[in-house]
């Protein structure tokens, strides 16, 4: 079983101490990427629900840079402590509430005095509210009030990480929904933004279970969306939904440090009795500010939002610099211990690694494109995800007018095709939509349909584009553009001929067109592409779906309720079959059998199987079908069906089938009883396909001697996918393992600087690079080895000294315990 397609941008990522690794929360796991190659190194697996926070334990000493420990928090209610170099889980703390955000101020503070006993480590977590039973005793009011209380979401709780329990009675705040906690870089303050106010707490310097908190609130007239603390001074910046950035200087002078209370009149911009010296407002963003971040020296403030532009403000002067054209909403900005490296996470599921002072994008870690917000009327009738069955690829249209080609086996982006050359516009409405993509059977041809919506009836345009890929390259190149292929009407379906260079498009305007590309002509003239070969229509009915039979001899076109069969060569109507209740939205021939499966939606949805030899319906179900996938050779097919809302299924086994809304059914053509059934979540907008597992690609399958295995790929509405054996049992799941995709960290790193010019220095460099690989393995007697060798080979003394002393200290502690 292969899973993948996780979102990289649900939570802010974290850099390791040596800035060579980036820890990204991907679903239930933490994926660790190399910053030099942007490839995945390893994964931390263990949580059972989505991760929400990852915090790397920072190094306090230079020698500690090789330490690879991190804390993670997840929605499954646990906090885990990991050594991510090995990788293994060291400690698990179960607090039983889904955690939405976690900060650990104790890690950031200055190292406490050496003579004292180490203090307990405390974490502040934003957890989802306690469940019903626990809440009820606190509620003393009537029934109405109780209801409201139950709806309440978030609580800021305190957790003793050293002793692995929640601190009783230390609930800092209750909020309507779980909020994201922001911590100041010094670890002195934590804050949340709650609607129109900021709540800031001072974390006591010597934190203990019974510490008391001093807190302030800052008010504004708009809802806050982002918050950041200055690393050294008492400055807090917050962004609101209108794109304004408010900066309070000297917040909490009264409360936190009992400073001189300034005169009421001399606090410009501060609302009423808020505790701050001054408040200034900057306004550049046109939409809400998503990210605010102070640079490590505190001289600059970074802000980003829906525009896809990273703005750098000089804090003293308010002067701006920009990193434009990021292409989508910026979610998080993370700085690394290496001052020249930081990362931004974008809404298109991409993490860009930035070279810092110049703000150049060095590398991008791209995940699968997340489903965009497509206007309802433009949604294609079929699922908009297309699979390349042979190569295990999926083509996904994205919001930035691109088609992303994503490898399901490798969980990696293969290429990206810019379909429509338009810049990212931070508008409210989507006006240019990629609404149809299709790939030919061998994956060498692609067609896309994009629609520009009209403005009050003028200027709408549908364009059909044909793309071709050379046999060896992975990039598609544009071959033909057809403007308005079906006059004003939109394109409802598209299919490529399985063997020849022929394609068919159907339109709601009541016609379908057969397109051909003459290969011989194409060789002679470079510019020749696809031309219209024939046009057909049936009683002026809107054509809603098309499909070619496996050998391409029959073309099936759904004309609203009926299915018409055509000879694609001569463009002659062969037969008309069927009558469904609703317009058919998807058609496919089942392998090499004589059956055709059609699906219709609407108030009376239907899934029907038609026999071509009898020209009549074989059997049908009343199912709301989301996607249909057919195997290429045998006579089974899979259906992704949405479960109706009224189903009683969930009551019977509520605990297991939590928020299940769809099911995958596998049928044999002759038999209306499904062969296999799975229940899935988030089926709306999902896709389904049979993928051929190429035996040459996975080494451990060759021993089985099977020809080519067929896997079923299911991708849900959030573009998370899973590949599994449709007919196999549990046992065979093990046969399908991840292809070796974890690359080594060091080897593939590009050479730079000195090494790029003069080549590697053999001895010295390698020794330094290898150290992170074996962290904290207390070798018996390091002092015996580190000084060995000739003196000119030895590393400089400061380097050796720390290692030597460290090893001594290490030994001492082990002896004590």
């Amino acid at each position: 079983m292969i899973t993948g397609g996780k979102s990289f941008v649900t939570a802010p990522p974290a850099f390791s101490n040596d800035a060579k690794k980036l820890l990204i929360c991907t679903g239930n796991t933490v994926s660790i990427f190399s910053t030099s190659t942007a490839l995945q190194i390893t994964e931390l697996e263990g949580h059972t629900a989505a991760l929400t926070s990852v915090i790397v334990v920072p190094a306090t000493t230079p020698a500690g840079k090789i330490l690879c420990y991190c804390w993670t928090a997840s929605l499954d209610g646990t906090i885990r402590y990991w050594d991510f170099s090995v990788p293994e889980s060291i400690k698990t703390i179960d607090i039983r509430f889904p955690i939405h955000s976690m900060v650990i101020p104790g890690l950031l503070g200055k190292p406490s005095g050496s003579n004292k006993k180490p203090l307990d480590l405390f974490a502040y977590v934003s957890a989802e509210a306690a469940n019903k039973q626990k809440k009820e005793p606190t509620v003393s009011d009537g029934q109405v009030k109780k209801k409201q209380r139950n709806a309440l979401g978030g609580q800021i709780l305190k957790c003793n990480l050293t002793e692995s329990h929640l601190v009783a009675g230390a609930t800092l705040a209750e909020t309507p929904k779980p909020e994201f906690i922001t911590i100041s870089p010094s670890g002195e303050y934590i804050g949340i933004q709650e609607k129109r106010k900021l709540r800031i707490w001072e974390v006591p310097g010597k934190d203990s279970e019974r510490a008391s908190y001093r807190k302030i609130r800052l008010h504004h007239t708009k809802s806050f969306t982002a918050l950041a603390f200055h690393p050294t001074e008492r400055i807090v910046a917050a962004g609101d939904t209108t794109g304004r950035i408010l900066i309070w200087r000297g917040f909490g002078n009264r409360t936190f440090s009992a400073g001189v209370v300034m005169d009421e009149d001399e606090r410009p911009g501060v609302r009423e009795d808020d505790d701050a010296d001054s408040c200034t407002t900057w306004h550049w963003h046109s939409a809400e500010v998503k990210v605010l971040f102070f640079s490590a020296d505190g001289a600059y403030l970074y802000s980003g939002g829906r525009e896809g532009v990273l703005v750098v403000w000089q804090l003293d002067t308010g002067k701006k610099k920009f990193l434009p054209r990021i292409g989508s909403t910026v979610f998080y900005l993370t700085s690394s211990p290496d001052p020249s490296l930081s990362s931004i996470s974008c809404a298109d599921n991409r993490v860009h690694l930035l070279q810092m002072p110049s703000m150049e994008i060095m590398k991008s870690i791209s995940g699968i494109k997340l489903p965009g917000s497509v206007p309802e009327l433009m949604k294609g009738p079929c699922s908009n995800l297309v699979f390349d069955n042979a190569a295990g690829l999926i083509a996904i249209p994205s919001e930035s007018y691109c088609i992303q080609v994503f490898s399901l086996f490798d969980d990696r982006e293969i290429t990206e095709v810019q379909v429509c050359e338009r810049n990212h516009q931070p508008g409210d409405e989507v006006t240019v939509v990629l609404n149809l993509v299709s790939l030919s059977l061998d994956g060498s041809l692609m067609s896309t349909v994009e629609t520009r919506l009209s403005e009050e009836g003028i200027g709408g345009l549908v364009s059909l584009k044909f793309w071709a890929r050379a046999s060896q390259s992975k990039d598609f190149s544009l071959s033909t553009i057809v403007y308005e292929p079906h006059r004003d009407a939109g394109v409802s379906g598209f299919a490529f001929h399985p063997t020849r260079r022929m394609a068919v498009s159907s339109s709601t305007g009541g016609e379908f067109k057969i397109w051909v590309s003459d290969y011989k002509i194409q060789q002679r003239y470079q510019n020749t592409g696809w031309t219209c070969h024939a046009v057909g229509s049936y009683k002026k009915k809107p054509m809603t779906a098309v499909a070619f039979s496996f050998d391409g001899s029959v073309l099936a076109v759904a004309a609203a309720m009926v299915i018409t069969l055509w000879d694609p060569e001569k463009n002659v109507l062969v037969a008309v079959i069927g009558e469904s209740l609703e317009p058919i939205v998807s058609l496919s021939f089942i392998g090499k059998s004589e059956y055709l499966v059609s699906a219709s939606r609407g108030s009376s949805p239907q899934l029907s199987v038609w026999s071509m030899s009898k020209l009549s319906a074989s059997w049908s179900y009343k199912l709301h079908t989301e996607a249909v996938a057919c195997t290429s050779d045998d006579s089974s097919f899979a259906v992704l069906a949405l479960l109706p809302k009224s189903t009683k299924l969930e009551d019977s086994s509520e605990s297991i089938l939590h928020d299940v809304d769809g099911s995958i059914l596998i049928f044999n053509v002759g038999d209306p009883v499904p062969v296999a059934t799975w229940f899935v979540r988030k089926a709306k907008g999902g896709g389904l396909a049979f993928i051929h597992m190429n035996p040459g690609l996975s080494a451990n399958d060759t021993s089985d001697g099977k020809p080519a295995e067929v896997l079923l790929a299911y991708i849900n509405g959030d573009h998370e996918y899973v590949l599994f054996h449709p007919h196999g049992e549990q046992a065979s799941k093990h046969a399908v393992t991840h292809r070796e995709r974890h690359t080594e960290l060091e080897d593939s790193a590009g050479r730079y600087g000195y090494a790029s010019i003069y080549g590697e220095l053999p001895e010295y460099k390698l020794k330094e690079d290898e150290t992170p690989k074996a962290p904290l393995v207390p070798s018996g007697r390091p002092w015996e080895t580190i000084f060995s060798g000739s003196s000119h080979n030895l590393p400089p003394l400061p380097k050796l000294c720390s290692v030597f002393l460290e090893s001594l200290l290490e030994r001492r502690t082990t002896v004590v315990e």
């Binding site: 338009r422 810049n423 403005e455």
Partner: protein
């Protein structure tokens, strides 16, 4: 690894607003060959050189400057090949001059005339050196052999082909065989003693003055009165023109018809051999048959592939064509005396000039140029160039669109006068849902006038009509009050109205035609 890192690094891109692509027809794709033939450019294409009457023949000098002679009325005009300018005139004819032919060294020129007399001129002094009198009827073809400087052959309306000794002004032999006017002929490139003639009796005869004095070596029948015949450079093939066909014959293979090219619509009047050179000279030259016809077309025929590779239209009936031996000039003469001369710019041979490199003095610090030395150094061949990143060039409206100044962008595009750009900007504004807002924001009369002027001109152009018709309607609805207030705008509106009425009229007549055609098509489809 380097590739992969390139692929992973997605640098921010910016796309300028681009107009829609135009459809390209398959025919208009320019092959390198048609590009080559089109590169023969006339120095003044608007007013080509006009001579007194129809140009009966054209011929190039085989010697170096490759001047060419055109016969028209009773004169032979000599033109310079370098400038295509008129150089001198030979006008010692009593009747229409025909068929000028250069001797192999390019110093003498022979020409026939309707009087039956053949004259040989010295080109330097323009004096007549010899009069060859024997033909009793108009002479239509006079030709020097390829290398022989002493003999000539000629043919005329008396259907006799004569072989002359020029020095003594005597006929060496009368070659009798043709039964009608002899109109054309050509010497064999392989032998000076063989030549071919074509006649209006449809026959083409190959003569060899060595073996038979009276009858031809070979005879083939073209099927139509033969207007022109040439040897192809190999000497084994001949091309004949007659009627609207050009035929290729294999002479060595016993007069076998190799191919018949029927592409012209009217009589082919003249053919010649042209050469297609590859760019830069490598790959050698290929020969083509160039033919001109009364239908006004010049066609280029690739006789190795039996394919027309280029065709070119001229406004009048064409009578003669010639192609210079150095393949730099192509001249075509027409029936109304217009000379279509085309010259191709041939790149100078650089290799010869390198030798003349002057020795440079070493620069000294006392000299100003010392401080600028080698700043204009061009990279030599093996150098690795560090390329500067290409800057995306943005037009004015792109810059304004980037700043979201939509109205200014529209106005800037309208000022740009390129309708494609204007429509592209409008489409981009539609995609941003700001087009109508822009119209509302157009303030001054001048801006509105610009927009209306544009709409009036392009609303009915089919490529833009889809967008502009709806848009014009909206504009008129939205700004009706402003239009009534201003006189200048009212004029624009009136023009727009006229354009729309015109379009309506066109559409109606098109519908009428459709009404006529569609029943016919239906009937045709039923069969």
């Amino acid at each position: 690894m380097a590739e992969e890192s390139d692929q992973q690094t997605t640098m921010p891109k910016s796309f300028p607003v681009k107009p829609k692509l135009k459809p390209t027809s398959r025919k208009s794709t320019t092959t390198p060959e048609s590009k080559y033939w089109r590169s023969f450019k006339s120095p003044d294409p608007q007013n080509p050189k006009t001579l007194i009457s129809s140009i009966t023949s054209l011929s190039f000098s085989p010697a170096a400057p490759h001047d060419f002679a055109a016969t028209h009325s009773a004169t032979v005009s000599i033109f310079s090949a370098a400038t295509l300018e008129h150089k001198s005139t030979l006008s010692a004819f009593t009747d229409t001059a025909t068929s000028a032919s250069y001797r192999s060294d390019g110093r003498l020129l022979a020409a026939g005339s309707y009087s039956g007399k053949i004259q040989v001129f010295d080109l330097k002094t323009r004096s007549i050196l010899r009069h060859l009198r024997s033909h009793t009827r108009p002479v239509h073809f006079v030709k020097y052999p390829l290398a022989d400087k002493l003999h000539l052959y000629s043919g005329g309306d008396d259907s006799i082909v004569k072989y002359w000794d020029v020095a003594t002004e005597t006929v060496v032999s009368d070659l009798i065989g043709h039964k009608d006017y002899v109109r054309c002929g050509d010497g064999c490139p392989a032998s000076d003693d063989m030549f071919v003639t074509g006649s209006y009796d449809h026959g083409i005869r190959v003569w060899d003055v060595r073996v038979s004095r009276t009858s031809s070596v070979m005879e083939v029948n073209h099927g139509k009165p033969v207007e022109d015949v040439i040897y192809l450079p190999s000497g084994g093939l001949i091309a004949t023109a007659g009627g609207n066909t050009v035929k290729i014959w294999d002479v060595i293979g016993g007069g076998r018809l190799v191919h018949s090219m029927e592409s012209h619509n009217k009589t082919v009047t003249s053919i010649c051999v042209g050469k297609v050179g590859r760019e830069g000279g490598e790959g050698g030259e290929e020969n083509r048959v160039l033919s001109v016809s009364l239908d006004g077309y010049m066609k280029v025929f690739d006789y190795s592939r039996f394919k027309i590779t280029h065709s070119m239209r001229f406004p009048t009936a064409l009578l003669s064509i010639a192609f210079s031996p150095d393949s730099s000039t192509r001249v075509i003469g027409s029936s109304n005396g217009v000379l279509y001369a085309g010259k191709r710019s041939v790149k100078e041979n650089v290799g010869s000039e390198v030798a003349e490199e002057t020795k440079k003095q070493a620069l000294r610090p006392s000299y100003f140029r010392y401080f600028h030395r080698s700043q204009n150094e061009k990279p030599s061949e093996g150098d690795y160039l560090v390329m500067r990143k290409k800057k995306v060039k943005l037009t004015g409206h792109d810059k304004l669109l980037k700043k979201f100044r939509h109205k200014e962008a529209l106005v800037s595009a309208l000022r740009g006068k390129n309708p494609e750009n204007v429509v592209a900007v409008m489409e981009e504004l539609v995609a941003r849902k700001k087009l109508l807002k822009c119209v509302q924001n157009l303030e001054t009369e001048e801006e509105l006038g610009l927009l209306l002027g544009f709409l009036q001109r392009y609303t009915t152009v089919p490529r833009y009509a889809g967008l502009l018709i709806g848009f014009s309607k909206k504009v008129v609805e939205m700004r009706a009050e402003d239009f009534s207030a201003s006189e200048a705008l009212r004029v624009h509106i009136r023009n727009l109205k006229r354009a729309v009425e015109e379009e309506v009229r066109i559409q109606q007549s098109l519908q009428e035609i459709q009404g006529i055609i569609s029943p016919l098509l239906r009937i045709a489809g039923r069969r």
